[in-house]
Symmetry: C2
Subunit: 326 residues, 2 copies
């Protein structure tokens, strides 16, 4: 079904986001591989958001949110809590605008992720590694600095930015029949679904998530947000609960949520490294993992030309994911 103008997220807001951010991000390539096409009997188009600024699609949403602020709002800076790709993306966007970024991170966040935030000039504020501590620390920072809070996914400005990758995919390959997108908090899937279905109503859009963190699949089936529970997956970027704003769009526009096994996530990650020569983090390989499961391909009747979002490439390279998982 087409995107409804009365919903929170509109095609127009995604188009405006694209105009706002396009000279501040990479227009990432859409790559193909005969070998991977043969393996699943489909034509696959991989959107390389691992090659995006700061190494993930998160640069799109964060940049849109930061550049939407009025000058007086922006002057106070921005704040978020995140231990992942949104943290670095927001610090980078704030640096581009020349404003402060306060990033609340759990005390046990990897040193490399803290360093990435500081490299972009962000101020790292460490807290205890609980959601309650992250939220209360962020609130304190907000009260003290009056900085604008930019949630990693439960924010229409961020969701509009994430949707811009679908606009680019359809410009790069108008013949796409479907898009597969990873789902964690849901901001990316919501943005891409609204964009893709508004531009081309016949498109099909699926979210893909690890079986060991299947709250989106359960929520989609029951129609209300189901709690995540204890996630058990190597795909650390998807160990996140579905947000309410994204879920509203997902219910309306997404064809379904596919779950994949840890084994297929690792196999997909390695195939992307080996055949596409792209460093992708396990979370980023999750959509391709759906193509490795013959039963999924058949039962979902996946069409001929499929766009696949490679969402990010940030991971520790001391060991490969398939070594780390042993």
């Amino acid at each position: 079904m087409a995107a409804d103008k009365s919903t929170g997220l509109t095609l127009q807001s995604i188009r405006e986001a694209h105009a706002r951010i396009r000279d501040k991000i990479h227009r990432t390539p859409l790559v193909t591989s005969e070998a991977l096409d043969e393996l699943c009997g489909r034509r696959l188009y991989f959107k390389c958001e691992n090659l995006q600024k700061a190494g993930a699609f998160k640069a799109r949403g964060a940049t849109n949110a930061v550049f939407l602020l009025s000058d007086s709002q922006a002057a106070q800076g921005v704040v978020t809590h995140s231990s992942g790709n949104h943290a670095a993306a927001l610090a980078r966007a704030a640096k581009l605008r020349g404003i402060p970024a306060y990033i609340v991170m759990p005390r046990n966040a990897p040193a490399a992720k803290q360093a990435a935030v500081r490299r972009y000039g962000g101020e790292v504020l460490l807290c205890e590694p609980t959601l309650a501590a992250r939220e209360s620390t962020a609130r304190q920072v907000q009260e003290k600095t009056r900085a604008e809070f930019i949630h990693p996914y439960n924010d229409l400005r961020v969701m509009a930015g994430q949707g811009t990758s679908a606009l680019e995919m359809l410009e790069q390959q108008p013949d796409l029949d479907a898009i597969l997108c990873p789902v964690g908090g849901g901001g990316n899937l919501a943005g891409m679904a609204v964009a893709a279905k508004s531009v081309k109503p016949a498109m099909r859009v699926w979210g893909v998530e690890p079986r060991g963190a299947d709250d989106a699949a359960r929520s989609f089936n029951s129609g209300k947000i189901e709690p995540l529970g204890e996630p058990r997956t190597i795909a650390d970027g998807l160990r996140t609960s579905l947000g309410e704003l994204p879920f509203a769009e997902i219910k309306r526009h997404v064809d379904g949520i596919i779950t994949v096994s840890e084994e297929d996530i690792l196999r997909a990650t390695r195939l992307i490294w080996e055949v596409l020569k792209l460093v992708v983090e396990p979370s980023g390989a999750v959509p391709y993992a759906a193509l490795l499961d013959g039963q999924t391909v058949q039962s979902r009747a996946l069409p001929e030309r499929i766009g696949i979002l490679l969402s990010g490439g940030n991971l520790d390279l001391d060991r490969t994911p398939w070594q780390a998982a042993v």
Copy 2:
């Protein structure tokens, strides 16, 4: 100095090669990174031939050679001896033309490399792991089948094909001041130097090779081909002696040969994986390694905007190169 029309390799032959092969290869992206630019104080443009068909620039030369054959020549097939990227590239090109490819490989060639040749329909002929055995086996195949021998680098058709990546780089970024290219047999460096200097005479072109396989540097300095000796480098694609036809062009058109340490090759490889999110084999990271050596950057007076050829991405991913080297 500009390319001389009287030489063996001409800009025209490279332009014709490009027209011949362009719908049979990828136009690979030219990627940039603010982080890597800052690290060396230059603007770097990475030509992603690791994303090329069959995972290396070798697809360019092999495809040009195969499609230059007359129908009656082609009908007999093609033959080469190679344990590396040229083997798979030639098998792929022959498959595109619908002709046989006979690939002589040493008995100890990695199973993955043999499998790549067979996947493209090439016939693998195993021989003892010596150059003499490889050459005599290839000669026997030639006599028996009348197949055309396509040398991996000492062949003007192959060199013309390799030069096409420089044409693309200058279309993608006309402001380039210099190109750094790895040098093993020299076919790639020769082709790129003729193309780049013919299109833009002010361009500077350097070859880069491991200190542990520095025959090109010694040959360039003495003016005659110096034997390779026993190569000691992780960059397995560059453990190759300089060919005579490439050397003739390199002497005329190349500004110098830079040698790099094993430590810098590994550091360069890891940085490309980590920051650019690209899987590159150690041989492919060799040109970037030159930028990590401050003394080289200064003594060679490397200019502002530098194009870097990431030549290939084929390697065993059971372990990372920095684990394998320990």
